[in-house]
Point group: C2
Chain length 247, copies 2
């Protein structure tokens, strides 16, 4: 019997995981999903995700695909997976059958990320582990203005991890908005694809702008340097969310 | 030296605690604060809260008071307490000196509660433990309409825990709004004071209205019955937040 290709959308809290990708040093989201698939279907299937989120990074709408030989309605896949994921902070939001050549990774046209800073003196209790706590007030308009310098097609070498496996450091950033949301500051980014650590590197540098330690010109120079040593610093993973993937 | 009375506002995630009040069966918010006060000041002080939240119930703005003999600026109290609460999901948002006869419990003029339902098929991953998950769609306008029957001065015996210690079951509910917030439904309630389990009992009964199992008339009859047996059921604690207290 010919297998069906299934596309799923997944929400997770990254705190308990070594990241999306299966690794030897602890539990991954990918492995948790593969175990859940095996548990309800008996099938050993590989799950491929749109974005390989790092340890501690969350997802509101990660997209992944896998094949399934058994005949089963997509909405029953959702409840079967969630039943087996009950003890974990992973939830399958939806499932649908897609053509056999669909790839969650290679066919994504836009990836959307959200980064949340809690900008108040007191540390988070309710949102502990889900926001980056910055106690000193940050200037949001300055950060938004600086972020616009990063929008467009650039060599993002400065904002790229040394472990990044992308062929080229040139990427096109389509959107980078910085807005106040109550006590939080939300950074919303969209691009076809991102370099490894790109979002966290850019948010870390923008924070310096928000503190007044960097000017907009400093950020521009940092981008132009095309040198990792010109980076401000990386924002921590637990404020970052893969919020949506478009196809 | 005369002690100062200190008023603090506190945020906490109730998941790890047996509730606000010190008990023998596990860690409480009250005890955690008393331990933190002792740790930085060396003083054994009793902390009194505005609302004795149950196990699992959260607070965005619980208010409490305590006395302190040592002379210390209020904003240093905030950082000292938070330094000692670092490992716990408790955060002190603010502190101020108040007159010696101030009582967080007895001088509150309004208590505001929020109840959050996540109303979607998939269980929560990010908001796990911070919302009540209801998979089937609920009718929000019907719930809001029914909630208005509970606003005003009533005998709330139906919505009162058998362990409630209040002298009278008659309370005045000033506000009960039910609105959609993305995938969530938010119930916002305000009153000078509430009976034990009153919010959870009312939300549990409104959920039956939202499901179409109860009509608005059923809810009215339930209130009029003044009988705990006429209750729909209690909503679980982990969707409930003490959001603000006014003086």
């Amino acid at each position: 019997m010919k297998a069906s290709r299934i596309k799923i959308t997944v929400e997770y809290d990254g705190a308990d995981f070594v990241g999306w990708q299966a690794q030897n040093n602890g539990p991954s989201i990918q492995t948790a999903l593969e175990v859940a698939i095996r548990s309800f279907s008996g099938e050993e299937q590989r799950v491929t995700g749109a974005g390989r989120t790092d340890a501690g990074v969350h997802a509101l709408g990660q997209v992944a695909h896998f094949d399934l030989a058994m005949g089963i309605e997509p909405r029953k896949i959702v409840s079967a997976l969630n039943a087996h994921l009950r003890e974990l902070s992973i939830s399958v939001l939806s499932a649908e059958k897609v053509p056999g050549d669909f790839s969650a990774r290679f066919m994504a046209t836009q990836r959307h990320y959200l980064y949340r800073i809690l900008n108040r003196e007191a540390p988070p209790a309710i949102e502990r582990g889900r926001v980056w706590h910055v106690a000193r007030p940050l200037e949001v308009p300055e950060m938004h203005e600086a972020a616009q310098l990063l929008v467009g097609k650039h060599d993002f070498t400065t904002f790229r991890s040394s472990q990044c496996q992308a062929k080229s450091p040139v990427k096109t950033l389509d959107k980078f908005d910085v807005v106040t949301r109550g006590e939080e500051i939300w950074f919303s980014l969209s691009a076809r694809s991102f370099l490894h650590h790109q979002v966290r590197s850019m948010v870390g540098s923008l924070k310096l702008v928000g503190q007044g330690k960097w000017t907009v010109v400093n950020l521009k120079d940092s981008l132009k340097a095309c040198d990792r040593k010109a980076l401000g610093f990386n924002a921590p993973p637990h404020g970052l969310y893969l919020s949506r993937v478009d196809y």
